[in-house]
């Protein structure tokens, strides 16, 4: 008798996992095969023993306060996790906001200056004796200071102008040779037309942008 095709089914019958539809066929084989019947009985007994083992586990005493401890730890761990995620989210949000602010400031800076240039007059000093020594967009707030310096002496103004220009230009550049008088004439011109941009070139007002 060929028993091999039934081996798995016999095991499943013993463990209670054989579908009803296959049961008749296997039971017919078992009734005709003594070896398989012995195997089936041994397997059924084995399954019973394993179930007893499992049942023994189910009878194990549960320690006092298990539920409370499990729940407490579960809640604590979950809150810890929530707190951690909230912290991470807050830190991420802060980083994004800071980054956004920095980007806005850095990108808005030049535009704002441009807007100011259009709204307020700015002075460009172009030295004809020293072509690379060009100071552009000197702040209007410093004009009064320049005027005060000129009232003291042309040398004082010269120094001040050179210092301011040096701060705005590369160190190797300077305003040596700039005609101070022409600058002061520009100042007067600016007083007359305060909403225009002006430039000083060598001696005298050269252009109005």
């Amino acid at each position: 008798m060929r028993c091999d095709p039934y081996k798995e089914q016999i095991t499943l019958l013993a463990s209670g996992d054989l579908p009803e539809t296959e049961r008749d066929q296997v039971e017919r084989h078992l009734s005709a095969c003594a070896d398989c019947r012995r195997e089936f009985e041994a397997l059924r007994s084995l399954c019973g023993q394993i179930r007893s083992l499992a049942a023994e586990n189910d009878r194990a005493e549960v320690p006092f306060g298990l539920s409370e401890r499990l729940e407490k730890n579960l809640v604590a761990a979950t809150r810890g996790r929530t707190w951690l995620w909230q912290s991470v989210a807050a830190a991420a949000a802060a980083c994004v906001l800071i980054g956004l602010a920095v980007w806005l400031i850095s990108s808005a800076g030049p535009n704002d200056t441009g807007t100011l240039q259009k709204q307020e007059p700015a002075v460009s000093i172009i030295s004809t004796s020293h072509p690379v020594a060009t100071a552009t967009d000197l702040p209007p707030a410093s004009w009064a200071a320049y005027y005060g310096a000129w009232l003291q002496s042309p040398e004082t103004l010269d120094k001040m102008l050179a210092r301011d220009a040096a701060a705005r230009l590369k160190p190797e550049r300077n305003l040596a040779g700039l005609n101070v008088r022409s600058f002061l004439e520009t100042m007067n011109h600016i007083e007359e037309k305060p909403n225009e941009n002006h430039s000083v070139r060598g001696c005298g007002v050269s252009s109005v942008v």
């Binding site: 463990s15 397997l43 023993q49 083992l53 499992a54 189910d58 499990l70 809640v75 979950t78």
Partner: protein, 196 residues
């Protein structure tokens, strides 16, 4: 299998827990924790470790609850997590089959006395099975899972679950027979020794 997803009384708990309500999950945990603890004790044999394993299992279950699709009972799903946590613990400790070693000194004496030698041999034989076979035996008999649920819990086809169960039982039967023979031989040889 979806009918076995949840009993009507805990169905709402499950759906609320799935929606992220921790209180609802705690309610579910209360229903399963004792059984989970006992199953953990059956796996590791140590009461403190069993409690830790049950704790880790529930926490893991809460974290990955969104992946629970009701294709098997919650108890089966929890048991599968428990098995993995236990395997992880054993790997961490660098021990594969030392469960009996830790059981011996830590088991309650009264409990130990009530165990028969056969039960201990069978327990040892189950523990000695290859992981794939042992998982199926544990899920089928210790978590009372059906073949379909075993397939879902282990992520294998149902046919594979059947084959593994067949293989595991055949292996257990073989090893228990061998143990029995060894035991008989040992007793016989002892008897022979005493009679000589």
């Amino acid at each position: 299998m979806s009918d076995s997803c949840a009993r009507p009384d805990n169905e709402s708990l499950l759906s609320r827990a799935l929606a992220g309500e921790l209180d609802a999950f705690c309610g579910l945990a209360r229903e399963h924790e004792k059984r989970l603890y006992r199953q953990a004790l059956g796996l590791c044999g140590d009461r403190h470790l069993a409690e830790d394993l049950a704790q880790e299992t529930l926490l893991e279950a809460w974290k990955s609850l969104s992946r629970y699709d009701c294709s098997c009972r919650l108890s089966t799903w929890l048991y599968a997590i428990l098995m993995h946590r236990h395997q992880k613990f054993l790997r961490k400790k660098g021990r594969s089959l030392s469960i009996l070693e830790q059981k011996a000194p830590l088991t309650d004496p009264a409990e130990a006395a009530s165990r028969t030698e056969e039960a201990e041999r069978l327990r040892a034989a189950v523990e000695a099975l290859p992981t794939a076979a042992r998982e199926v035996i544990q899920l089928r008999f210790f978590a009372d899972a059906t073949l379909g649920e075993i397939a879902v819990a282990l992520g294998i086809p149902q046919g594979t679950a059947k084959s593994r169960l067949h293989y595991a039982l055949a292996r257990l039967r073989q090893s228990c027979d061998l143990e029995l023979n060894h035991f008989s031989l040992g007793r016989d040889s002892q008897l022979e020794g005493t009679t000589r």
